[in-house]
Subunit: 346 residues, 2 copies
């Protein structure tokens, strides 16, 4: 089945629209973002999700928040720009792309030499659009490099969603699949459902299915069995942050997939734009893992699955050590170990 | 919190009661079984579940179905006993313990040499009670042997439900935890929710929580992260079948847990009555894995989590190779590798 799915983030006539990904796959709802608070809540509530998409959304959100301040002084404008940037960043502090996009816009504005706030606003908006356009190009490049890993007849496993819905255009982890599919290569994808928020079921299986790619949905705990049956030849996932030593943080469950991959001797690739590489983070140990509300764990689709007073853990991410990673696919090519050397160039 | 949970199967004043496990954890409902048809439907609809519990329930159901036939001839009694046994067995034809309990009662009656149906009824009821009592004793013995693995301050991980609700008394995998708890040992349990049917959430976390044991519910894909944090010292799970070489079949996801355990160097124990050891099954490769309906994967509580037309896999079990297993806890003690040698004695 082929169907056009709205873009996760779209700027139309200087109005910002997000596809509400929390409602997928049952409802396809596009929400107009009227205020910076709307954008903050959309990011916080995961209506917009996926590292690059959060960066793009945050960039647009920051730019548009300055729309009504064209008559302030340039100093007032820049001060408010920083304040708004910090506010937006607080919606998902683990998301390095969000801070990156915000800082990029702020620095661009600061160094623009503009003498009017009207010009400054133009610079800020142009930078936000630029971030989006670059992301589209980067996704295509990641897809181009990564598709070499997908041969005719292979089985590919992915976890969570690093697809068109998470990013723009082709996504990151799914970009090699989209490119391979366009080239007529025939392959099977297995998508982990990715509890607790089911991004693999709701988003990955949804978008691949609608793109006409052969996708099979499994629960997270089936991955080991599927691998043991020889059905998986390569694993490609996204990442929220790459540390200087090649450790990566990604959606909870990625570490488990990586350990299974090692046991079954299946190559594991991480796909990400090079902006996700954070050399200031020495190793995975320096990455703070966001702990989310327990109700995501003890409820499923609003229905209690355990006593409401049960203790839970709900880490949103886990850290996969570099030793378990075969390669990192960026827009510049596929990095190979030792990553601490390869990453130095970024 | 401590609360007495009704037993999954209970005989009180010659009346049979089942806890309706399909309503857990939101409702605790005990249903009196008035007729053999009630028992059949309860087994069919999984109100009673867990291999040993089904056997116990079927045994009582068969015995009580003969209550009103004390005035028939002994031949009529035995004929009806077989007919009722076949009828009950048809509720879950793949449940080995159900057929086993029914045959045991029929054979006991046939070989009893009783000359009156009143005596025959007594023999049949005594055998049903005996099956239940033996199961309780076995669970206690498994708990007694296994509790030595649970030291003060440790973290224990379990998958699916092999507890009091599945069996009787203490269960199998949970028995060591119940015994350790009674001894005043302080430890933490992490329960995988166990998709797709969530037995870990609905049953394990429910029963341990109500027993006052410190239990934390996690999604299946969090186990690797929790282990990486050093929070798990020992893993105990149940099994549906042990092959002659020590490979075991258990709820889907067990293989993944076992591979993680090996990576993190955490001991993995399998708890089961020795009746689960099947020497006729040479290795795990000989175990046929039941594939269940895909709607369990793409729906929860009636809510779609993916496009309804999505392809899915839904294997109910996976096979964990003997090489990943540290020990097998039975009522006779803890078996150690090489299992092909240790199991020969059974």
């Amino acid at each position: 089945m082929k169907m056009t799915i709205p873009k996760s983030v779209e700027l139309v006539d200087n109005e910002l629209y997000f596809l509400d990904q929390t409602k997928l796959p049952t409802k396809i709802e596009v929400e107009k973002q009227n205020t910076i608070e709307d954008v903050w809540h959309s990011i916080k509530q995961l209506k917009v999700r996926g590292a690059p998409a959060i960066g793009i959304a945050g960039g647009y959100g920051l730019a548009l928040s300055m729309k009504d301040f064209k008559n302030s002084s340039t100093q007032e404008f820049l001060t408010l720009l920083e304040k708004n940037g910090n506010y937006l960043d607080s919606a998902r502090p683990t998301a390095v792309n969000l801070r990156w996009a915000i800082d990029r816009i702020i620095n661009r504005a600061k160094n623009s030499g503009c003498s009017t706030t009207k010009e400054l606003y133009g610079v800020v908006l142009k930078e936000a659009i630029g971030i989006h356009e670059e992301d589209k190009l980067i996704c295509k490049q990641i897809g181009g490099h990564g598709q070499s890993l997908i041969k005719d007849g292979v089985g590919v496993l992915t976890h969570c969603n690093a697809g068109a819905l998470a990013v723009s255009e082709f996504g990151t982890a799914l970009a090699p699949m989209y490119v391979a599919h366009k080239k007529g290569i025939r392959f099977r994808v297995y998508a982990d459902e990715t509890r607790p928020l089911l991004q693999g079921a709701r988003l990955t299986s949804f978008e691949l299915h609608h793109a006409g790619i052969d996708v099979t949905l499994i629960t997270d705990n089936m991955a080991a069995h599927i691998m043991s049956q020889g059905l998986i030849d390569v694993i490609i996932v996204g990442t929220d942050r790459v540390a200087a030593n090649g450790d990566i943080a990604n959606k909870i469950g990625t570490l488990g997939v990586a350990i299974l991959a090692k046991y079954f001797n299946i190559p594991l690739y991480i796909a990400c734009p090079s902006s996700t590489i954070d050399l200031a983070t020495k190793t995975g140990k320096d990455i703070v893992i966001e702990e989310r509300d327990g109700s995501e764990v003890y409820k499923f689709a609003g229905v209690l699955t355990a006593p409401e007073s049960i203790k839970t853990r709900n880490p949103a991410f886990d850290v996969t050590p570099a030793e378990l990673i075969t390669g990192i696919i960026t827009e510049k090519g596929i990095l190979k170990p030792p990553f601490s050397e390869a990453l130095k160039l970024f």
